[in-house]
């Protein structure tokens, strides 16, 4: 009798059979018999190894060689190479998994290296629907400290010293705002959180509401204590159903533990919190319009003064801050104003969350100390431009902000530097643009937005934005006239200085800033009837490069307007009269023979 010199174990577990181990086993049986090896090599079927995602599994003893994802076709190779020649088949070997310490830590990723998460401290690490996780990480300790150890004046002083400024747009010093409201006469005062986040391209508030709602609630409770409010509202846009759901859960949990409601933590401080769902109007992000909306009216802004701190919701003194502003407060009270003030620049303290979107590789939310440069954010954290295209500029601050061109990439992001560069911090949306974005088209896009969101109360905004939009549309369609640029600038200046609220005051910003930095693009549209970014379809001409065209006819079939003709195997032609400039032909051409000029 011959000695068995090797065992071949084939897994017969349920999952491996499903992925074909039966066939593998049969192949072995047949092949071993054919090669007359069936006496010296024994075939064994085994039970599941629990490693089914790598199945079918084959183990060869005595070496214990572990083969994964084996198919019937691999069997002759294993027999020939391994069992006959003694050389294990590399490509089927199970690779040892990576070791823990070979994997980078978050801090070692480019995306996080320069980040410093204060407002987003818990987002992505805790379960937002469990208050105990928030409390276990020190949550509500700052509220406790404030109401037991500090007077309201001390809380305000600490906030003032920290240098915290509003994260919702204007950058007004938060402590000062609280002080105004505290000093306003009246017993009943309201605390409001602006969670309307209407600025397209920004989603940091949503992330906090969804990922760490208690940080907002704690911040609001501290502010309420400092100002002397017993009632508060969170005005959240209806487009955020998940945020509203998580907020409701969080408020109920905080009430249950006595961290909201009457006699918080056994003191005589009481504070109740309500949620108001927005109803879809950008202008309701403006503070006076927001209050009108909470009162159940049309959300129209009104003239300030009186400021909300004097006469706000239901004519009572009110304080309104943004979500991110409040989320910073527990950290300031907990770790102290000096700690907070050690981050950021001289006048812009702390960190800011930016929503990095558009043509950048790593889109996402980034929180950095203020003062880092745009270059750092886009190229280091963001990993540069998608597809290696050329970076053109970044739109910052949404429809109220402006475009900062590539040449000013080293501008630090803080309130003052951005204003100086013709943009503004806004809520912190950064939309990155590459060479294929047309700046005139982008201005038109923003004007279209502000124009349709204008509430219509004041004339400069209602009529002025309409005229500007008409002019921009005309330019994009190739009908611009030389006076247009000057008219845009004049209209912009007038609207900025005469509109009633922030919406109108800032609406011309995208136009004015692109006129400042990308004037040549406007001129190309107006004088040469050309769109340098090849984005304005009315100004494009499609042609076929005869050298490259093979006459395959794909483009002619793809063209919905029947504008392309030509004999088979002969260069085709596009009839400019019929062409609707949809671009389908470019997508269909395999040889890159169609040009867009």
């Amino acid at each position: 009798m011959q000695l068995v010199r090797a065992h071949v174990l084939v897994c017969g577990g349920k999952n491996c059979t499903a992925s074909g181990s039966e066939q593998v086993r049969e192949a072995f049986a047949k092949e071993l018999e054919k090669k007359k090896l069936d006496q010296e090599i024994r075939l064994v079927e085994t039970d599941c190894h629990g490693f089914c995602e790598m199945g079918p599994l084959v183990i060869v003893y005595p070496e214990g060689t572990f083969y994964v994802r084996v198919t019937a076709e691999d069997v002759p190779v294993i027999i020939e190479e391994h069992l006959v020649k003694g050389r294990p088949v590399d490509r089927l070997l199970y690779k040892a998994p990576v070791k823990e310490d070979e994997i980078p830590k978050y801090k070692e990723l480019d995306f996080y290296r320069k980040q410093h998460r204060v407002a987003l401290r818990n987002c992505g690490s805790i379960n937002p629907e469990k208050i105990e996780e928030y409390i276990a990480r020190g949550g509500y300790a700052s509220l406790e400290k404030a109401i037991y150890d500090l007077t309201p004046e001390q809380v305000i002083e600490e906030t003032k010293t920290s240098g915290l400024r509003g994260r919702g747009g204007g950058g007004f010093p938060t402590g000062l705002k609280w002080e105004f409201c505290r000093r306003s006469p009246g017993d009943l005062k309201y605390l409001i959180c602006n969670a309307d986040e209407g600025d397209p391209g920004a989603f940091m508030d949503r992330s906090i509401l969804e990922g760490d709602p208690h940080s907002l609630i704690e911040g609001m409770a501290i502010a309420a204590y400092a100002i002397g409010c017993s009632e508060g509202y969170i005005y959240c846009r209806a487009e955020y159903p998940l945020a509203i759901k998580r907020l409701k859960i969080a408020i109920a949990q905080a009430e249950e533990l006595g961290l909201l409601g009457d006699n918080i933590l056994g003191t005589d401080f009481s504070f109740t919190l309500h949620i108001k769902e927005g109803a879809g109007a950008f202008v309701c992000g403006e503070e006076t319009a927001l209050m009108a909306s909470i009162e159940g009216k049309r959300g129209m802004p009104r003239v300030r003064p009186p400021f909300p701190a004097q006469k706000g919701l239901w004519d009572k003194p009110s304080n309104i801050n943004n979500v991110e502003t409040y989320a910073n407060v527990p950290m300031i009270i907990g770790k102290g104003a000096d700690w907070f003030g050690s981050m950021g620049t001289e006048k812009s303290k702390g960190t800011k969350v930016f929503a990095l979107t558009g043509k950048v590789n790593n889109t996402g939310l980034v929180e950095v100390p203020m003062g880092v440069t745009i270059r750092d954010i886009i190229f280091e954290i963001g990993g540069g431009i998608v597809g290696g295209k050329e970076y053109k500029g970044v739109q910052i601050g949404g429809p109220s902000g402006g475009c900062i061109p590539a040449s000013l990439m080293d501008t630090p992001v803080d309130y003052e530097s951005l204003i100086e560069a013709g943009a503004m911090m806004g809520s912190g949306g950064l939309v990155v643009m590459d060479e294929t974005t047309c700046m005139v088209d982008l201005s038109r896009f923003f004007l279209n937005f502000t124009q349709s969101e204008s509430c219509g109360k004041c004339t400069p905004c209602r009529e002025g934005t309409k005229r500007m939009l008409e002019i921009l549309t005309r330019i994009c369609e190739g009908e611009g006239v030389p006076e247009d640029i000057e008219t845009l600038e004049r209209l912009g200046r007038v609207i900025k200085s005469t509109a009633l609220c922030g919406l109108g005051n800032t609406a011309p910003n995208p136009v004015l800033s692109t006129l400042r930095y990308f004037r040549d693009e406007y001129e190309a549209h107006i004088y040469d009837k050309r769109c340098p970014a090849h984005a304005c379809s009315a100004l494009l001409v499609y042609t076929i490069d005869e050298e490259k065209c093979s006459g395959c006819g794909r483009c002619a079939r793809a063209c919905p307007a029947g504008a392309i003709t030509g004999e088979k195997k002969e260069p085709h032609k596009i009839d400019p009269e019929k062409c609707i400039k949809c671009g389908s032909c470019i997508e269909s051409c395999k040889r890159g023979a169609i040009l867009r000029l």
Binding site: E197, G198, D199, P200, G201, A202, F203, R206, A238, E239, Y240, P241, K276, E277, G278, A279, G280, A281, F282, S293, I294, E295, G296, K297, R298, G299, M300, W314, A355, L356, T357, G358, K359, T363, G364, L365, Q395, G398, P399, G429, V431, V432, M433, T437, L442, F445, F446, F449, E453, C455
Partner: protein
């Protein structure tokens, strides 16, 4: 008022009851007009004229005031709407990443334009400026589901999931 002897359909009775419950819930609460409108729209799917008049009566407000609020906010609708609300984001981040192509294709798929409803009431198409999901642009939201990283090609498969 229904004619005497002519029974109201059960559905109407149910909706009427829900409306009364809604009124009861908000009675005496300040600033309740908008939440009541939101609730009523939830019940009826839109805001029929009779319901608006009822709300005005309940809150002792002039109907013009109620109507003014309804027309101010994009969220309120005076016409019946589709079973599925498709919202295409045309916000900045989505715009820069090709939302207009997605929007065009969606119009073709569904067969209606902005703010319109299909005849079978299956879909209403709307445009919005940012759904807060800009990192995955371009984005479309159908009912409460957000769909991101869209290409015109995968729209059909997504739309087909909604009856």
């Amino acid at each position: 008022m229904p004619e005497a002897g002519c029974a109201q359909p059960a559905e109407d009775v149910q909706m009427e009851k829900e409306l009364q419950d809604l009124f009861a819930k908000w009675r005496g609460v300040k600033g309740s007009l908008i939440p009541i409108l939101q609730g009523a729209q939830e019940i009826y799917g839109y805001l029929p004229k009779e319901v608006l008049l009822q709300i005005a009566r309940e809150l002792k407000l002039p109907p013009s005031r109620v109507f003014g609020v309804v027309t101010f906010y994009a969220q309120f609708h005076l016409e019946p709407r589709g079973r599925n609300i498709v919202r295409v984001c045309l916000g900045t981040a989505c715009h820069v990443r090709g939302a207009s192509k997605v929007y065009e294709r969606l119009q073709d798929e569904i067969g209606v334009g902005d703010g319109e409803t299909t005849e079978d009431l299956r879909f209403t198409l709307e445009t919005v400026a940012c759904l807060g999901c800009c990192g995955l642009s371009p984005v479309v939201m159908i009912n409460d589901d957000t769909h991101g990283r869209l290409e015109p090609e995968n729209l059909k498969g997504i739309v087909d999931q909604y009856e």
